[in-house]
Symmetry: none
Subunit: 259 residues, 2 copies
DNA sequence: TAAGAAACGAGCATAAATGAGCATCAAGGG
DNA sequence: CCCTTGATGCTCATTTATGCTCGTTTCTTA
């Protein structure tokens, strides 16, 4: 394991547990305690953690553990959802994407799809997700428009009035929203009210609203409401969602796609 | 396999795995480790990857590596320039940064500097550089404000009317501008007129304008003008700039710091 | 409060990685 | 045919990362 990998692994462990002792870290990484101390000192210098006697504590409690676990667990479902969602997007469309692991996967699928030619960008993607913009900035046949704003470390989404301001100036063909919860009664929800506000604007500006959510999120609700079920045109989810659970959405006029 | 093919293959492997060791790359490409090091160095120069001891890591933000440790390379000219520039920034300041390798280095130095405490963000950074925002989003002690706009693949800078619109809403204590050329007659210049326009707004909104440029850029001029020499308060450069070359700037009222 | 234990930092030795310099090789042009 | 140019591989001095030892600091608890 290289030094670089080890430092990242230490941060991972720290994000999970919130704290980490020198001894435990040394055992996990199979290096001496002296090395771990040097690592902790360097990461402390970079403000990534705070040194304590005998160990270190996480500096920002910000890493969304459940999110990351689900990423690993539902990877293939996410990719099938992403592929199905990309299938809804015609060439040349203007598409809005918010942040999240599923929408990032959608962005990857869209970016790698063949260029229909004709000189114009094959696709315009409007997003408030920093990671999506970074990843797609180098793709030549996709035009990226990033909202401004302040990034939340937890999700890499830009929020705030500066993010909202952009939506006075654009319209979208399709908005693809990743959410952490969706129910027939409460509609789409996410954990943060600032993100919800920006996501709502994405939905408002779009002709067609697509919500992507793996089966574990359907029936859950989170703190901040993004939009009502009646606003949603399509829900793309996976086969872990039962027919019965899908029925209320269909009745509310939402097309449900189980990839 | 040509050199060009090999560089692309390296980036491909890196995109897949997120990291790559010199040894493994040498084996896969059937070339010596020395060649791989040269390749990595060149790609690192182009911001396509980040060099680590023993290998390299991909340069894109990803949910798979939510906490990214950045290697602090050692005293190069850029880093001395960056350190000197960071010394000009008082705690709690609101600072504007444009894109470029030197300003990215300034951002790193600012992000790792010790927290003065007191609860408020130690620093607010307003930038149109996607890579700086990505890298600093996880730093808890720095508030990042990103302009909106369309990223240019070459520089990761956001440009266009959406980027410009932000500057109606903010003011800055200090603007730090990386440029590709600066002369006493023509002022600061860069290769792209859209970037120049956004950079000019950064300078306009700031009380104090600092231009960072290594010695090779002083005396050069590029296509698009950012601002006049009279607008510039401070030029931070390195010791490769002769006293004689610095004199015209001093006479024009620019404080020249040779780090 | 004081003794013992744990953690720490500094210094040193070793091994790996690196960068610089040099020789070789292939491609292309006069 | 020879020369130039650029890429590559090799060697060696230097830098960097690591583990160990030892004296010092800090915490625990009697």
């Amino acid at each position: 394991m290289t030094r670089h990998e080890r430092l990242n692994a230490l941060l991972e462990l720290l994000a999970d547990a919130g704290q980490l002792s020198v001894e435990e870290a040394a055992a996990r990484m199979a290096v001496s305690a002296a090395t771990i101390r040097r690592d902790f000192d360097e990461l402390a210098q970079q403000q990534m953690l705070t040194r304590t006697r005998g160990g270190a504590v996480a500096n920002s409690v910000s890493y969304d553990l459940p999110l990351r676990y689900k990423t690993a667990r539902h990877a293939s479902e996410k990719q099938r959802i992403a592929a199905a969602t990309a299938g809804l997007v015609p060439p040349g469309a203007i598409i809005g994407l918010n942040g999240g692991t599923t929408t990032t996967e959608v962005a990857r699928v869209l970016a790698t799809r063949p260029d229909p030619g004709g000189g114009r960008p094959a696709l315009t993607i409007v997003t408030n997700a920093l990671n999506i913009a970074s990843e797609l900035a180098v793709r030549p046949h996709v035009k990226i428009v990033l909202t401004g704003g302040v990034p939340r470390p937890q999700s890499y989404e830009l929020t705030g009035p500066l993010a909202a301001g952009i939506f006075d100036h654009v319209t979208l063909d399709i908005a693809v929203l990743g959410v952490t919860g969706i129910t027939p009664e409460h509609g789409a929800t996410c954990p943060n009210e600032d993100e919800a506000a920006v996501n709502r604007l994405l939905a408002d500006r779009a002709d067609h609203v697509v919500v992507v959510a793996d089966g574990s999120k359907v029936g859950r609700r989170d703190f901040a409401r993004i939009c009502d079920t009646t606003t949603i045109n399509t829900l793309v989810t996976d086969e872990t969602l039962s027919e019965e659970a899908a029925a209320p959405f269909t009745e509310a006029g939402v097309e449900v796609i189980r990839a």
